[in-house]
């Protein structure tokens, strides 16, 4: 049955309306969870607020489980789902750069939009930086074009990479998530006790 738009069940014309609605839901959840505050987000790196980890892991786990079940029920065809292709070395480099940018900026693109919505100047600067960064990337693209396309492994899934079923991957993910929830809860308790001043 699904995915609906690639299958032609919902006509392409609705594409942008749906994009807007999905974006609204996404933005609402992000903001309501507290992702519009950079100090909230970066708390994950300093142990005083693990909201990012909680929301992120719960979302991934729920979506993963849902997708696998939906595929099983025949509601969605996992073969038609866009699986992000893996470009090994550029992805490693990109993730490391993003990691540094994350700690420095305190936002990621999606959260910065919601932060702008509630009036954060730093988020506007961050988005400006984002714009500049992508501009710089495209300007200097010829210099690392080869690197950009290197290490292409195609749309490989986690299960395919490790040679196990993706159902097992999901279970492992859930177990890791639950352990992470418990551990971070303990850490958060301890760190917050020592924090004299904590205001969002």
């Amino acid at each position: 049955m699904g995915p609906l738009i690639p299958q032609g069940i919902i006509p392409m014309g609705w594409d942008f309306v749906i994009a807007l609605l999905i974006g609204i839901a996404f933005g609402f959840v992000l903001e309501a969870s507290g992702f519009s505050s950079s100090r909230n987000i970066t708390g994950v790196f300093y142990g005083y607020n693990f909201v990012v980890l909680r929301v992120f892991f719960t979302a991934v786990v729920v979506a993963m489980i849902g997708l696998q079940y939906f595929d099983y029920f025949g509601w969605i065809d996992l073969n038609q789902i866009y699986v992000l292709p893996t470009f090994l070395s550029p992805m490693i480099v990109g993730a490391i750069i993003m990691g540094v940018g994350f700690v420095l900026g305190g936002f990621c693109p999606g959260t910065s939009y919601t932060a702008i919505a509630i009036g954060k100047i730093d988020a506007m600067v961050f988005t400006g930086g984002l714009f500049l960064g992508i501009f710089l990337f495209s300007e200097f693209f010829p210099f690392f074009e080869q690197f950009y396309y290197s290490g292409n492994m195609g749309s490989i899934t986690i299960g395919e990479f490790f040679g196990i079923s993706n159902n097992l991957v999901t279970l492992i993910f859930v177990v890791i998530a639950v352990i992470a929830f418990y551990v971070t809860w303990r850490i958060e308790l301890r760190v917050r006790k020592n924090m004299t001043q904590y205001k969002f």
């Binding site: 609906l4 933005g27 939906f70 900026g105 702008i116 490989i156």
Partner: protein, 178 residues
Amino acid sequence: MNQEIDIQDRPKYINPYFGGVLLGLVLLITFYITGRGLGASGAVKSAVVTTVDKVAPDHAEQNTYMKAFITDDHSPMFNWLVFESFGIFIGGLLSGALFGRIKKLRIEKSPSITNKTRLFAAGIGGILFGIGSQFGRGCSSGAALSGTASSSFGGLLVMLLMFGTGYLVAYFFRKLWI
């Protein structure tokens, strides 16, 4: 710590697990309807291409990276991710209004740094994120969240390395946040 003051000060955020489940369901519905996940940095890319195309069309045509996103029939802004990102903004606005977080323009920072430092760091962080998201084929929502949810190996890689690097360098930038 005085509990009452703490509660007053604490913005009314929803339970993170609740947010997580909701976000997971939104992601699931997105996959169900569109066949792919969420994203955010793609919209900025469209904006960059549009701007360059407007200011210096020849230059944009010559650029091998931007060229791929320029078509004659419609503007690069007419893109799924652009609409979605606009939705993110509206969603943030709605939530902010609902929970009373929309206030005058302000800068959020650690009390130990100046506004200038914070804005500088945010700008640099943005630039790095912009460059990184192009190499990583997506940002934290496109690659890490949606990628991992669709069991993409690349998504998992980006997620682990992004947070891993974050932890490694967090110590050096602790002044910014604590």
